[in-house]
């Protein structure tokens, strides 16, 4: 099989997951936490940016479905993509796509870690609220040290939250992926087809719903979809 468990170090994934988790809401929201970026970086860390990119593109299709609006709950794709990208890259060459079994488990790990990450964001917000509640008096007095302390606490706790999310999921996900890959029996192209059909359908459905809001947009989508399919067939 040639799948080596070597790759990204646990510490590396944890640090990356912390930084990417922080980007989702707290700092700096530059969208380095989007799966297509985060999983690629994690894949590069594990030795295969292309495998990370393929996994990131799959998770990006799922991320198109969720809008990170204010207090709403949504999967936290930053730290989750760090886990998924590092798992997908395990055993893959620098320029090769991930092993089919690794790919499926990486996407599953990304979804589960993303869901858990979304829950942990909610706990994090409650934790800051508790910290803030005890200091509302000093905030009302205009104490700048309290303002700074709240910011530092929130950002520090979020960094830790993302790193813990990475730690919690990376080792079990990688171990599961190695175990699954060793027993994988479905043909590689069929495995990829199932995974890609699922994520592409989610993206298409989400976009179809979103495009409803602007007149003529669905027609444009269908026209360009036809053109895109033709480009694939003629081999662009």
């Amino acid at each position: 099989m040639g799948l080596e468990p070597a790759g990204a170090s646990v510490a590396g994934v944890a640090v990356l997951a912390g930084v990417l988790g922080l980007d989702v809401v707290s700092f700096p929201q530059a969208m380095i936490s989007r799966p297509i970026v985060a999983a690629t970086v994690a894949g590069a860390l594990a030795g295969s940016p292309v495998a990370g990119l393929a996994c990131g593109a799959a998770l990006e299709c799922l991320a198109l479905e969720t809008l990170p609006v204010g207090a709403s709950r949504y999967p936290e794709w930053g730290s989750a993509s760090a886990v998924a990208g590092a798992v997908a890259a395990t055993g893959a060459g620098p320029l090769s796509l991930p092993h089919p079994g690794m790919f499926v488990v990486a996407v599953v790990a990304g979804i589960v870690a993303g869901w858990y990450g979304g829950e942990s964001m909610s706990w994090h917000r409650r934790l800051i609220a508790r910290f803030a509640r005890r200091r509302l008096g000093r905030l009302a007095e205009g104490d700048r040290r309290t303002v700074y302390a709240l910011q530092a606490f929130g950002i520090g706790a979020d960094l830790l939250r993302g790193a813990l999310n990475g730690l919690l999921f990376f080792l079990p996900a990688r171990a599961t992926a190695l175990w699954v890959s060793a027993r994988w029996s479905l043909p590689g192209d069929l495995t990829r087809a199932v995974t890609i059909t699922a994520v592409a359908a989610v993206a298409a459905a989400a976009l179809w719903i979103d495009f409803h809001a602007i007149s003529g947009t669905r027609r444009l989508f269908l026209l360009s979809l036809t053109l895109g399919t033709l480009l694939v067939v003629i081999g662009v």
């Binding site: 297509i36 198109l64 869901w115 609220a129 059909t197 592409a200 979809l225 895109g228």
Partner: protein, 265 residues
């Protein structure tokens, strides 16, 4: 909105807004949601961002005016994090102009709703998905990992940083009349045009990205044709069950079943 639409500018001269202060505020705005919580939402972040401008108030950092203004600006607030720059600029200006506190508070409350809805529509519902689709298109066009990352990040952050810088500038210069800045063509018509661009990009990106992710072989083989047939069918099902099942949960179930089948057969 009444406070936004009926406000008149204060008669005071424009206070100094030095480059250093502007830069400090801009950098701090990247962390405006650093202490986002269910108690005061981004209120503390607003105080944190506006604080450098408040240092110019009479008495400086230890003065009563500074402490009262910081307390006002650190209270409950919510808006879109990028468009909050408009509020930061306008409220910093109002504090520096020493507008009566009751008026600042009313104005601050009135800003929350519009800045939230306009920002969500422009950024989360239009700009971010459009940039994501550009990233997927670059992936589908066999872009290298570096090209995909740079393409997405440069495009997205050009819009992101422009919005923050423009917002701070417009907020400071318009002060309590900042409502007129919400009529900027980008905010008013941007979602429509970006949405159309995203539709074109999506149509091109999906087949190309799917083809690359499948390994880039013969597009008329059994597997790619199967994907081309199954994907729209599944998408129709997902559109129909919308509201009852999120797509990622459906994908999770499908892939777990796939793993179980593959390792046990």
């Amino acid at each position: 909105m009444s406070e936004l639409s009926t406000s008149t500018p204060p008669a005071l001269a424009t206070p100094a807004f030095t480059r250093g202060t502007r830069l400090r505020i801009l950098v701090r705005m990247l962390a405006i949601q650093g202490s986002w919580n269910y108690e005061i939402l981004m209120g503390n972040g607003m105080g944190f961002c506006i604080e450098p401008a408040l240092r110019t108030l009479p008495g400086g950092r230890e003065g009563t005016a500074y402490r009262e203004a910081l307390a006002r600006q650190s209270a409950y607030f919510n808006a879109h994090p990028y468009l909050a720059a408009l509020a930061v600029g306008a409220l910093a200006r109002a504090e520096c102009d020493q507008v009566p506190p009751s008026r600042i508070e009313r104005f601050r409350t009135a800003l929350c709703g519009p800045l939230g809805s306009v920002g969500d529509r422009l950024v989360w519902a239009a700009w971010l998905p459009a940039c994501s689709l550009v990233g997927l298109l670059l992936f589908g066009l066999h872009g290298t990992p570096q090209a995909v990352l740079l393409g997405f990040l440069l495009l997205y952050n050009a819009g992101h940083l422009w919005l923050r810088i423009w917002g701070l500038h417009a907020g400071w210069h318009q002060g309590l009349r900042v409502a007129s800045a919400l009529g900027h063509p980008v905010l008013q018509h941007g979602p429509r045009y970006i949405g159309r661009g995203a539709a074109v990009c999506a149509g091109l990106a999906l087949p190309l990205a799917v083809h690359r992710a499948l390994g880039g072989g013969d597009p008329l083989g059994a597997v790619p044709i199967g994907v081309a047939v199954a994907t729209p069918l599944l998408a129709v099902v997902l559109v129909r069950v919308r509201g009852r099942a999120e797509g990622w949960r459906v994908v999770l179930l499908m892939l777990v079943l796939c793993v179980l089948y593959s390792v046990t057969r």
